[in-house]
Amino acid sequence: MARTMAEKIWDDHVVRRAEGEPDLLFIDLHLLHEVTCPQAFDGLRKAGRRVRRTDLTIATEDHNTPTIDIDKPIADPVSRIQLETLRKNCAEFGVRLHPLGDIEQGVVHVIGPQLGLTQPGMTVVCGDSHTSTHGAFGALAFGIGTSQVEHVLATQTLPMSPFRTMAVTVEGELPPGVTAKDLILAVIARIGTGGGQGHVIEYRGPAIEKLSMEARMTVCNMSIEAGARAGMIAPDETTFAYLKDRPHAPKGADWDAAVAEWRTLRSDDATFDREVVIDASTLSPFVTWGTNPGQGAPLSGSVPDPAAFADPADRMAAEKALEYMGLTAGQPLREIAVDTVFLGSCTNGRIEDLRAAAAVLRGRSVADGVRMLVVPGSVRVALQAVEEGLDKVFTAAGAEWRHAGCSMCLGMNPDQLAPGERAASTSNRNFEGRQGKGGRTHLVSPQVAATTAVLGHLASPADLSEFPVTAGA
């Protein structure tokens, strides 16, 4: 029977199948960060259990970590306790940890691929919804809750109920200056925040195949924002080239065997439960105006009128969003002024994202009254950026160059918005209070973030005079 890529990987990982029960799946890689595992380790300890496969488990510190003065003790005592708890648990159970200050430290979804631990055909889990990022490699990767973290630690398996499959086919070519972020924001606006519920999305089509691995990760990262369990992209030469020679990539004969398997993963001519087709050539820079990632529109447009929504629930949501965001219907999106620009996160904190933003900022300055934070997704990304001199470009423009971490993606560490403050952010969630209590978030691409920093209002590179617009990354 013809199968989709997700179904093939699922079938390859069934440890046990029984009528009327969820399949028991083997997990190839389990990523941990400090927020969602303390209660799981505690559960193991209480039950006298060990971590079954420490060799398939890795931990890092990212959510609570400060991005300045990292050599000083962490000021917030509760954050400090959480990090100390992770360190204690990893030491006690024998789990590899990359703590703050380590060269491999960074946002969990940046370091997995970077180390070459994320590979095609694998099952990858983490107590974090953006685990979908790893699907960019043709892995079946999904976020889990703390009870499931405990379950994977104890058994290296998970009972999983079946999912449905959705194909998002992106035809044509992205116009110059339109990025993976604009694409995924447009997809979410199209299918809605609940549109992917119960589904694994496979992104395919010519526009997807042309994307770099970094851009594919940006797309898969936000699958959860469409409600999907996971997002994935078939592995191809771009994937193999990215993986080759990474620290944990297979070597020698193992590499050949692995690539041979990876080539078989591509979906057969299978039917998906749902299919959505998007024409890339119609897309343009896209930003959000509301308080969920589905509430977005082309930057060239304006804040919608809630009365224009046919569905009463959508109308109510739009009304509440405009009130929270302090926006009025009909306001052109380009005229929205911001206080803060955040470049970073597991969506857009990789080297290509920093390069794209630096290209805009080179020789320009951040507007008066605007603060811009540049937070690399990992220490390795930071080192690469320094090698390329990007840090100098950012600081010369007046932006702050920070240490790696989740930073302002969520209000959990010192980097937060003040109540009423407005940000253009390359992260993935614009929920009420996500970046700090009362903070207002517009999700944007790195290019739009950088231009917004320069002009002080939402804008794309095309709004700058003399900007060489290059093909979308």
């Binding site: 890689l29 488990t57 609570n64 631990l117 009870s147 379950h151 104890a154 629930a313």
Partner: protein, 197 residues
């Protein structure tokens, strides 16, 4: 885990859709390393508003939350479930739940019930008009009952059984330890390891 069979209680009608887990329990609450003590963080931002439904004196002690569609979207934080339970909720009713939230609820014995939007509207109307109105959520008969409302709901047999019995997933899985060991023995040798062999 506590078993769930049937529960009758008063309702908090939450007329909002897309209630994401950042609203249920904001990030700054996630730093605790225990599973309890999250009740004061539940809907933290909204509770600052004295008019918010949870603050109404008549809603104190309510145990069933009836919310709009797409409840529990966003972050995978299980703290959202703990916060609802710590506060005293036994069941949440909504036209649609986010997958991870639903899975997390099941693991902790918080029942999530999917009912059509119009039934949810009727439950809202009933309980807004009369805060003392009680709703019964019956997992044995897969039915929600309130004055003038009887609605059947779907839940898969396996999930229902585990809730009814209050079963712990890990013990269930460890009964199949030999299957796991067999699978491990046949995994491709080139799959990566985080530790040196």
């Amino acid at each position: 885990m506590e078993a769930f069979t049937t529960h009758t209680g008063r309702v908090v009608p939450l007329r909002r859709s897309n209630v994401d887990t950042d609203q249920i329990i904001p990030a700054h609450w996630l730093k605790k390393v225990t599973r309890d003590g999250f009740e004061d963080g539940l809907f933290d931002a909204w509770r600052k508003d004295p008019e918010f439904v949870l603050n109404e004196p008549a809603r104190q002690g309510a145990t069933v939350l009836v919310a709009g569609a797409d409840f529990g979207t966003g972050s995978s934080r299980e703290h959202a479930v703990w916060a609802l339970q710590n506060y005293g909720f036994k069941a949440v009713i909504s036209p649609r739940f986010a997958d991870i939230f639903r899975g997390n609820s099941l693991k902790n014995g918080l029942l999530t019930v999917m009912l059509p939007q119009e039934t949810v509207e009727r439950l809202w109307e009933l309980t807004e008009a009369d805060p003392t109105a009680e709703v019964t959520v019956d997992l044995v008969d897969r039915q929600v009952r309130a004055e003038g409302i009887t609605a059947d709901f779907d839940i898969d047999d396996n999930a229902r059984w585990r809730l009814l019995e209050g079963l712990d997933d890990i013990s269930l899985t460890l009964e199949h330890e030999t299957d796991i060991a067999e699978y491990e023995a046949r995994r491709p040798p080139y799959r990566p390891r985080t530790l040196p062999r």
